[in-house]
């Protein structure tokens, strides 16, 4: 078993928490993970990417080779397209629809979503809207984890455990909200299947 995931977003959007939840879920399920992160300069509102590799055997490279990623999971639509060269032919591209506009030449969102949806395996989801409806706007990243969950080959119970490990310190309410966000995202993805 192998799942190579490109996680994309803008510095400050918290893609490392997405990586941490999925990574811990994979460990909880008994798999190995290797995860490269971005620290430093680009974290200041720039494009950020993390390579998350999950496998049942030794993982060599810290970076995913181009053209082989099983999934691009992006918390921002423009960023979903930035790493398309990494996606394998039948890989999944899963993106939040809410743009983060901090550059003057941000392309029209419709054009971006159209490009994403033209790929054979794509899913776009209004994670911010769903999180807001749950009265937990900060959970939009976990909605994205939920949207990706049907394609991760990791049981949803293990992902819940990942959430417990990450948010446990913040109290039971926060854990419950994020588990609810996970399931909302998951339901949406299963409905689109």
């Amino acid at each position: 078993m192998k799942k190579d995931i490109i996680l994309a977003g803008v510095g400050g959007q918290g893609i490392l928490s997405v990586a941490a939840v999925i990574g811990l879920a994979a460990l909880d399920y008994g798999l190995e993970i290797k995860q490269s992160e971005v620290h430093g300069m680009s974290q200041r509102g720039g494009a950020v990417v993390s390579h998350l590799r999950i496998s049942d055997s030794t993982i060599h490279s810290d970076l995913i080779p181009e053209g082989t990623a099983d999934m691009i999971l992006s918390v921002e639509p423009l960023e979903a397209l930035r790493y398309l060269n990494f996606l394998k032919k039948d890989g999944w591209i899963i993106s939040n629809t809410k743009p983060f506009v901090n550059i003057p030449d941000y392309p029209p969102v419709e054009k971006i979503l159209e490009e994403i949806n033209s790929l054979p395996n794509s899913l776009t989801i209004n994670a911010d809207g769903i999180a807001k409806a749950l009265k937990s706007p900060r959970s939009s990243n976990i909605v994205m984890v939920g949207a990706a969950s049907p394609y991760l080959d990791i049981p949803v119970e293990n992902i819940e455990n990942g959430i417990r490990q990450i948010f446990g310190r913040k109290g039971e309410t926060v854990v419950e909200l994020n588990i609810a966000a996970l399931h909302k995202g998951r339901e949406f993805a299963l409905g689109e299947k």
Partner: protein
């Protein structure tokens, strides 16, 4: 045994703790920062009473670590690659003094310059100082090598350089920890003159260092980190260093190379092993992260007729970090990807945070400078360097930490007026103070703007060495107190900032304007912590 999921940097931190260090010294710098941060968080380090505070710069850090080694205890010092330039003097001379307690210098290089001004390769420094260099290929080796580095250091009485690069520093993987060692007891050097590098003693010490060379070469030859892996297909031999090995293995999905591979993790280069692969194979491919350090060494200048492929013949790009695709291409195995990003994709460069005080200062400075003409603002390294980009386009230099003040001085000496320096508080205490002293001694007409956000913001908001004392320091160095002005960079203070900067530019001497407002990132983090405490 349960594995710990650690960044390469964290594995170094844990390795150092488990090697029984008594101190870690560092100045922050991507991609090395997380080594110190990990040790600072570690309960085990606390229990061992490990000294773990940030230093003013890499030179002071290295000297403090050498002092700890003098006292017979183990110490590690950590920095990014360019930090070693700052620490080069104690670094080079610590090879001559030798060590007492184990001394490890951990340096994180940044090929591809993700967060740096250059991509210099620290292995040259190791060779320059004639000391052993260890270069891990993965997180487990980062842990093991850190521990072994202390042993090597104590065995041969020399400091040991541990070199990692960005991808290993910032990637997590499972690491198996081994039994922790107890810290050394305090014991002073047997020879009271060992550390006195007067020429007569230095000559003797240098001979000792030269005498050690054959032993550290032999150590490399027998090192478990230099591995010869047999392969059936002798048409090619592959030499890898550090994480290049992983990229190579990624290209052989069953984990076995058909070609013989020499995996290097410890320098000086193991000559016997290199000769073996040279003789056994028809051509060589050298895969290394950084400069063509090994490749150049193998090629030499005498034509051997033996084909050596790598960065110097274009098989691998001359600059930038490696990745699995570059290695695939070098092996003739590369497949073009199925997709590519659309043409309409826009770049998203980093930017100053919304609400950051640096923004307000640049707005004011730009208003002032438009009356004086372009290209008169020298700056430095930190978040505020982003002022070089649109919409500000406010600064004209960023070279090395502290250079804003001294370059402004030199330009003023040449007749540039006004000559303005913009420098962050941490960069100022790192290496700006001495430059300010030069300007004061010369009464050079420069205006130095110190962006005092009470944090080392660029690297994650570490505490700043001169916090709350920037004004005092400037006055102490000799700037006239009435020309050390403080402003609060907020939009509502725009006109006042413009007035103050203008007044100080008009002053014919050294003036300082301190723009004082806390970094909004550290402010938010602090407020969050306070709320939690309530």
């Amino acid at each position: 045994m349960k594995k710990a999921l650690l960044l390469g940097d964290e594995a170094i931190g844990q390795g150092a703790i488990d090697a029984g260090i008594s101190g870690i010294y560092a100045y922050p710098g991507t991609p090395s920062t997380e080594i110190m941060e990990y040790v600072q968080r570690s309960p085990k380090a606390k229990a061992n009473n490990v000294h773990a505070r940030w230093s003013a710069n890499e030179k002071t850090a290295t000297e403090a670590a050498l002092g700890m080694s003098y006292a017979g205890k183990r110490a590690i010092v950590c920095m990014k690659h360019v930090g070693l330039n700052v620490a080069a003097d104690p670094f080079m001379n610590s090879a001559i003094t030798g060590t007492n307690g184990g001394l490890v210098i951990a340096v994180a290089d940044d090929p591809s310059m993700h967060s740096s001004q250059n991509e210099q390769d620290s292995r040259y420094y190791g060779k320059f100082a004639q000391i052993p260099v260890l270069e891990p290929s993965n997180q487990q080796e980062a842990y093991d090598m850190t521990r072994d580095a202390f042993e090597l250091s104590e065995k041969y009485g020399v400091p040991v350089l541990l070199r990692v690069t960005t991808r290993l520093a910032h990637s997590r993987y499972g690491v198996e920890l081994s039994e922790p060692l107890k810290p050394n007891d305090l014991h002073l050097p047997g020879d009271p003159k060992q550390f006195v590098l007067l020429p007569s003693i230095a000559k003797r010490r240098y001979k000792i260092l030269l005498g050690v060379q054959e032993h550290i070469e032999e150590d490399s030859e027998n090192s478990r980190y230099n591995k010869y892996i047999e392969g059936k297909d002798k048409s090619l031999g592959i030499i890898t260093t550090g994480i290049a090995f992983n990229y190579l293995m990624e290209n052989f999905p069953d984990g076995a190379s058909p070609y013989p591979v020499l995996k290097i993790g410890q320098y000086p280069l193991p000559k016997d092993a290199v000769n073996k692969i040279f003789k056994e194979t028809e051509e060589l491919l050298v895969l290394e992260e950084g400069y063509p350090f090994v490749e150049e060494y193998l090629r030499g200048v005498i034509e051997s007729g033996h084909k050596i492929h790598g960065r110097l013949d274009g098989t691998v790009p001359r600059d930038g970090e490696l990745n699995p695709n570059i290695v695939a291409k070098a092996l003739g195995k590369d497949l073009p990807p199925d997709y590519s990003p659309p043409e309409f994709l826009a770049n998203r460069p980093p930017e100053l945070c919304p609400g950051c005080g640096h923004r307000d200062l640049y707005d004011a400075l730009n208003d002032v400078m438009k009356d004086y003409g372009p290209q008169r603002v020298f700056s430095d390294i930190g978040c505020y360097t982003l002022g070089a980009l649109p919409p500000y386009n406010a600064i004209n230099s960023c070279v090395d930490m502290g250079a804003s003040i001294t370059m402004a001085k030199g330009a003023a000496d040449a007749g540039v007026h006004p000559s303005v320096a913009v420098i962050g508080d941490s960069t100022f205490t790192h290496s700006g103070i001495t430059g300010l002293l030069d300007a004061v001694n010369d009464n050079t007409p420069v205006t130095v703007i110190i962006l005092d956000n009470a944090a080392v913001a660029m690297t994650g908001g570490q505490p700043s060495a001169g916090e709350g004392r920037i004004e005092q320091i400037c006055i102490g160095v000799g700037v006239e107190p009435e020309h050390v002005r403080t402003v609060i960079p907020l939009p509502k203070n725009h006109d006042e900032m413009v007035r103050v900067i203008k007044e100080e530019i008009e002053y014919d001497g050294v003036s300082v304007v301190i723009a004082q407002r806390e970094c909004i990132q550290t402010l938010v983090a602090r407020k969050k912590r306070m709320r939690k405490k309530k």
